[in-house]
Symmetry: C2
Subunit: 95 residues, 2 copies
DNA sequence: TAGATATTTAGACAAATATCTAAATATTGC
DNA sequence: GCAATATTTAGATATTTGTCTAAATATCTA
């Protein structure tokens, strides 16, 4: 898992909003973009960042490209955060 | 809590390494810096970002400034990640 | 096959950011 | 008070990044 890619992807508010929109289920690029005031090209750039971080998956459906969340990586991300957070049973020694 | 500041702070590998070092307990700026090949000025910049995100706390001890983790914000961050992640009981409807 | 729609790619540009050097500020101990 | 040490601030610079316009690619439908 590319820790750096994931954190960088999460650092942009537009991208976090995209992820938020995908919580309700898969959406096409156009459906996602309808909620934002940026060009399709900019949107596409954000999708590329999210894909590189493996936070979203894509599937072509005819003319459209459908985006969906990759839940696995969210679990990994949560684990990484908790790994940074020292608590009982986590002395920071692992990995 | 400044979601944007927190995610931006986490997006830099040097800052994540700083947090990692602080898992073992409080350290002075100099002790932290010893592990990195960058100038004290650059270090200080990273500390400022981490402080703005409220991920670390500081306390002057004589000549030194002691940094420590602010665990509370890590919990908030974990919550934010999980909030992005759709699971049973989390339909994305809350806040 | 031609035209329309959906999305991405290429290239340019401005804003943000990580780094540096030099200088400033704070504190200690003589 | 002064020199030494620790840290931050100021200002400069190179890289990264988010955005745009224009053009390319993919697919559908008539």
């Amino acid at each position: 898992m590319k820790q750096q890619e994931v954190f960088k992807a999460m650092a942009d508010p537009t991208r976090r909003a995209i992820l938020k929109r995908l919580q309700g289920g898969s959406l096409t690029a156009g459906e996602i973009g309808a909620a934002f005031d940026i060009t399709p090209a900019s949107l596409s750039h954000h999708f590329a960042v999210l894909k590189r971080a493996d936070l979203v998956r894509t599937e072509r459906r005819g003319q459209y490209i459908v985006y969906s969340l990759n839940s696995t990586v969210f679990e990994d991300l949560a684990r990484m955060v908790l790994d940074l957070f020292p608590s009982k049973g986590n002395t920071g020694g692992k990995k």
